[in-house]
Amino acid sequence: MEILSLLAGGVLTALEPLNLMLIIAGVSVGLFIGAMPGLGSVNGVAILLPITFLVPPGSAIIFLAAIYYGAMYGGAISSVTLGIPGASTAVATTFDGRPLALQGRASLALVTAALASFVGGSVANILFTLFAPVLATLALSFGPPEIFALMLLAFATFVGLGGDDIPKTVFSICLGLVLASVGFDTISGEPRLVLFDIPGFLRGIGFIVLAIGVYGIGEMLWTIEQTRGEVTTTNPRMTARGMMNDTREAVQRGWKGTTIGSFLGFFVGILPAAGATPGSLMSYGVAKMVSRRPELFGRGNPDGVAAPEAANNSASTGAMLPMLTLGIPGSPTTAILLGGMVIWGLVPGPRLFVDQPDFVWGLIGSFYISNFAAVLINLAFIPLFVWMLRMPFTILAPMIFVLSIVGGYAASRSIHDLWLIVIFGISAFFLRKFDYPLAPAVLAIVLGPIAEPTLRQSLLLSSGDPSIFFTRPISAPIMVFAIVLILLPAVKLFRRRKTETAAAE
């Protein structure tokens, strides 16, 4: 019960007036930063790092962690209302959140997102509190072969993501993988696929650039073309009773996705190198895969909103685990937090829990409080966000365009990325006209940069022998499972073709 008393102490620390104020401020700022397309928790935490010198380190990290938390909640807002992912972690939220909004159910989507985030955050907090040291050891046992196997599994869950047209899905994945390999190859130390020798490609193609192009610009063009500008958006009603009903419906139709997202997200989050974005995409894939009616996904299924939202919150807490216990960041944002800890004079690493218990438990306590603060603030703002949707599309469309461009620029401060956003947006529009699913391409650009180096590192370890994936105790079962999943739809497709030909004869 030692943990409980430590936790109680931590919660009390987090409730001190200064800390509580910082939590509320941090969550609000985070909510806004997360909702702003392009800007995510990384930018928020990096920008606000210097102002934390005004307060003691314990309070400083509580503030930054609150921003991180708030941003995970906020990302869903623009994903749902505008169809532009507010942050990279909220891309999967657009898959079902946007269709719901177009059906006039934006408030349902937002309530689902808020509740799923809350549950995800809570589950992660509890797992973190109880099992931090054990989980840290588990994270260390994931070497390159294990991580590659996990990535393959993520791809496998997505093969069935795109309207069941497998060849087109595979094409989309390949497209994403090619885009992911642009830039610099660390393993050989050589620049690679620097298209037309434009220096901007040296950095590679940012995932957020593709996501804003596809979902911001592409979606806008699509809506204009479909409706010839006459969209009258749905007239969303916003009453206390309506919100109660939405809450009930969110629980009924989103609990499955929430459960999957909460646990899977946390697990992916604690693996260094992965982070919240792969976690939320994988949870979406798994939720769809295990669903009895997968065809509902992508058309406005609350489960499809709940899974990624629960996962991104859960993963962001998870990503703190290797940071605090091992001194190794699990996501880009925790990397900045880690830098902050060094600036404040703390040594992140295996000794932190022992040497600085007040700091660590204060932070963990603040996770719980931040989570409460975030869900309350978020729910309070939902009517405002829904009200925004009442604007006529003729006003909303230019706004989406401006937000896409501003957000795309803010993330990297490079004009090169803006051109890419426009090009991706237009290409996405045409690909969509030909019924190519685009989500798999987005998945591939996130997971490709993790899958490729780990595949090559594994093969270097084994001197080129692929059996390394099947002889290690953790990677072997994951690998086998992934391969079965990949082959399953292929077998189905083959069978269907066979019966079709049989029927034709």
Partner: protein, 323 residues
């Protein structure tokens, strides 16, 4: 909420500063807009941590009238950052925080057309030595044992480090050459990932900077065997250097501030004064000690001469890496 308040206080403070002409360099050149503080690595890495630490020291002590704005340009192993400096439009407001890709990237990617000698030396904030680490569970406690073990395993001894042509691969290639070792080298994205896989025993040894391995060293998981510094390191007095073992080789990561090519002399002087202040601050001195960086103060001419030797050394070393 807090932002508006902060901005307000900041604006008020700035207004007061503008009204009172009592700044350190009252007559000299002063930055007129925020300073682009380009970092040769992505967010979170060692170079990024140092840049943000420097920024925080300047910010905390109000050393600049305009802020240093960190700008991560790690693409192409720092090529992106070098090009950003070379093509900087506002040369007086563009600075770079370096690591050794400052030398290796222009050598490996000649197409960039970057000549680092055209850049403006500002300040050498310290150099980061390399240390050879193994996991405590390996049972290896001395460098001689390491050599023996690596030889015995005949090509199956696995070392991890940063990408090919980068610092770690250079140090390891030298070591392998000097002792006739055949090693299996696994490249990673950054020092953090390398340390994690040594802690998880996916690899057998690394040449991390002390800062990257510090947490695991203190917990007793990592054992230092050999330092690649000129003298024994203060923080590891019992660890021998490669020089003591009879090989004339030392290797450091350069943590320097560099100005854009063609920066005006007045601006360069302003920044030299600024970073000298940062260097002398108790915060930076404390950082040097806690992160085991070695001081290596030098002026502009000495820096250029140092770059010359480093470029020459790296040209030879990279040939060994490419073998």
């Amino acid at each position: 909420m807090i932002i508006t308040k902060r901005t307000f206080i900041g604006a008020a403070a700035a207004a007061m500063l503008a009204a009172l002409p009592i700044s350190a360099s009252a007559q000299g050149w002063e930055p007129r807009r925020p300073i682009d503080f380009v970092i040769m690595a992505g967010p979170g890495g060692g170079a990024d941590q140092i840049a943000r630490f420097i920024q925080s020291v300047a910010e905390k002590n109000d050393m600049t009238s305009r802020p240093l704005v960190p700008n991560n340009k790690g693409g192409g192993s720092g090529a992106e950052a070098l090009l950003a400096l070379k093509d900087a439009r506002d040369k007086d407001h563009t600075l770079l925080v370096t690591l050794n890709s400052f030398f290796t990237t222009p050598l490996r990617q000649e197409g960039l057309g970057v000549d680092v000698q055209e850049f403006t030396p500002i300040a050498m904030m310290g150099v980061d030595p390399f240390v050879l680490w193994v996991h405590a569970d390996s049972g290896i406690t001395t460098f001689e044992q390491f050599v023996e073990e690596a030889k015995a395993m005949d090509g199956e001894f696995v070392m991890g480090g940063t990408g090919k042509g980068q610092e770690d691969s250079i140090v390891i290639a030298y070591l392998a050459g000097a002792y006739g070792l055949t090693l299996k080298y696994i490249p990673y994205d950054g020092g953090g990932a390398v340390a994690k896989d040594l802690a998880g025993k996916q690899i057998m040894a690394t040449v991390n900077n002390p800062a990257e391995a510090k947490g695991f060293y203190e917990s007793g998981d990592f054992v230092p065997l050999l330092a690649f510094s000129d003298e024994r390191m203060e923080s590891f007095p019992d660890v021998p250097t490669l020089k003591e073992k009879g090989h004339d080789f030392s290797y450091y990561n350069q943590r320097a501030i560099v100005g854009a090519p063609g920066m005006s002399e007045e601006a360069a002087e302003y920044y030299r004064t600024l970073f000298a202040q940062v260097y002398d601050s108790p915060e930076w001195q404390g950082y040097l000690e806690s992160e085991s960086l070695s001081p290596m103060p030098m002026n502009a001419e000495e820096t250029r001469a140092y770059w010359d030797t480093q470029l020459q050394n790296h040209r030879d070393l990279l040939q060994q890496v490419d073998g």
